[in-house]
Symmetry: C2
Subunit: 367 residues, 2 copies
């Protein structure tokens, strides 16, 4: 950066805010306290990950806010060592817990209200960090299936908790791995943001499924998986429980989607068996990505149906929760940001062939 | 990357394709020939920009496809030295010139057609590179206003050319500066992509203006500029011809928008005077960004109204062309990609104050 502006604003007690562009409906979270985040020095590919005073390492539990969930197979006190996975509030949250009210936009889509007046809501919500394993220079996919399963169990337990909270309409679980995928800490972690509103991509998927059901009398995801399996070339793996494939309109090279075989809209309703099986599959996919692309930066995120909320009209017909994995081989550039379209140099059929080639067997080998 | 997959596919003669996700409508350009792009070694901040065998430097005109436009103040032959600004087809195009047909999506928004069958179109279009100055380690804002004006003139001339072409409905001019903003070449350049369809962000802006006009009987941009000028805090600069401000719902820290004061929907209709004045203003803004943020990666892009096309219903009421500048201080992460929302740690009022502080006077000082 080398700039002269100090990006750390002095007054950080202001509550974050949702702002909506009155023209396009684009929603932004203005969260000045995020500017205080420390950015760790990221090592280059061949360097060991420096542990320094990483706040996510075992033994440094006091460096984070008190945990809200953890898995300790041998038992042990809250915020002590001995955990497998640990969930804590984000120290630099994009959203903050509110005073009980459920904010919602005015009816008039912004166009009839006073311009730039009706287009803000208090930034109410939850922002948590899922620390995926106790050791610094590793990741759940380098451990056994049990470690991977614990991570996906933690996601489910937190979503179950958010589903019980008043006024939370949606949640996104997401992982940033690598500096160019937006990670500010190299220690493996994911995040959960739970909100009183529904973000636009999720809303488009939910509404798209409802529309598809009304127009075709069939469930979109059921139909899509049938189409993909009959085409075949984009399927990476089909297990007893899940299908993994490279989407037809993949935005990113090697983009991959994982979806359950059974009708299930809400990830918080996944069974223990499904969670374990998902951990095992995701572990193999992470190994395949390492094998195929090296230590590439990537994101993944979970799209799941509505949590119980007066802001949401029930569960969309035929929607299934799914995980999307987006390797970040190229940066998002002006065309993507300016147009909302993506340019992808690797056709998904070709990407799926490479994924299949590097996919380890399901027997549990670690590499 | 260090991966094992060779990202350069062997069969690159396949035509690119527009693909639309049947659920969300997300449009992607699948362009495998883009995988052949060379990525230059980018220097770190304090290093001199290596020229090596940069194809955009003066004297290497044969390394690019033949130019389609250039400004040579002293005259001279096509593809010879002596140019101020030069426009060439992109050697690794995302889109290719078609066989005269104008592709358009089927009427049924994908939902009634055969899934994954009706959701592809040939990737017809134009993809050009605007080389912004002859010397490698510089940029138009380090030269005089004349150099900046020449760049903005080149944009206009190419848009005028695309406006005359059959079946081109829209064009995006965009600049990627810095590796983390998506640039693959450090020599200052921008790009133009012209398409038979309208990308979703542009479409939302056009439709939003029409809706606003119908609902309020007023022009959106006129109303917005009134609101911003009456608020005042987000205005960075107001010249005789333009207003520059930090948008209310800025997605990026220090995001900035520039819009003409007069009603003008199409940039290809800008006068010579406007083009010159825009170049001078953009030059000062680029200097302010350097001064405030150091050598930060950034994008800018131009949103302009419909080119003449049977695919587009005239010019949207009250829309004005505008340039958006998006510094890239943080990467786009899983939350942004997964939700379609942005988290911005710098409120636009604060950003505008910083922009104003670092804005050089209009007298033409170079730094």
């Amino acid at each position: 950066m080398g700039g002269k502006i100090d990006l750390k604003p002095t007054d950080d007690r202001s509550h974050p805010e949702y702002r909506r562009d009155p023209l396009t409906g684009q929603i932004v979270i203005i969260a000045r306290q995020r500017a205080h985040r420390p950015m760790s020095r990221f090592p280059s590919d061949d360097e060991d990950l420096p542990s320094g005073d990483c706040p996510f390492c075992e033994g440094r539990e006091t460096m984070t806010p008190p945990e809200v969930f953890a898995i300790r197979p041998e038992g042990g006190a809250r915020d002590s060592v001995g955990w497998q996975v640990r969930v804590v509030p984000n120290k630099y949250p994009a959203l903050m817990v509110g005073a009980g009210e459920t904010p919602s936009w005015s009816e008039h889509s912004g166009h009839l209200g006073d311009l730039l007046q009706d287009d803000a809501l208090p930034g109410v919500g939850h922002h948590e960090v899922v620390i995926e394993c106790p050791d610094h220079a590793s990741s759940y996919h380098r451990h056994g299936d049990a470690q991977a399963g614990a991570v996906f169990l933690a996601y489910r337990e937190r979503l179950r908790c958010f589903a019980r909270k008043e006024g939370i309409a949606s949640a996104i679980v997401f992982k940033n791995s690598g500096r160019s995928a937006g990670a500010s800490q190299p220690h493996a972690h994911s995040q959960i943001i739970a909100m009183p509103l529904v973000p636009p991509i999720l809303e488009r998927e939910w509404r798209g499924c409802d529309d598809y059901w009304r127009e075709n009398g069939r469930h979109y995801f059921a139909n899509l998986l049938d189409a993909e399996r009959s085409h075949g070339e984009r399927i990476v793996e089909a297990t007893d429980d899940f299908v993994a494939w490279c989407p037809y309109a993949s935005r990113f090279p090697y983009e991959l989607c994982v979806c359950p075989r059974e009708e299930q809209a809400r990830y918080d309703e996944a069974s223990d068996h499904q969670v374990e099986a998902l951990g095992a599959l995701m572990r193999r996919l992470m190994l395949a990505m390492d094998n195929a692309l090296g230590s590439v930066a990537f994101n993944y995120f979970l799209h799941t149906a509505s949590l119980d909320s007066p802001n949401v009209d029930g569960v969309p017909a035929g929607f299934r929760w799914h995980l999307e994995i987006t390797p970040r081989l190229e940066g998002l550039a002006g065309f993507e940001i300016g147009s909302g379209m993506y340019i992808n140099p690797v056709p998904p059929d070709m990407a799926a062939r490479d994924w299949r080639r590097y996919m380890p067997a399901a027997d549990g080998a670690t590499s």
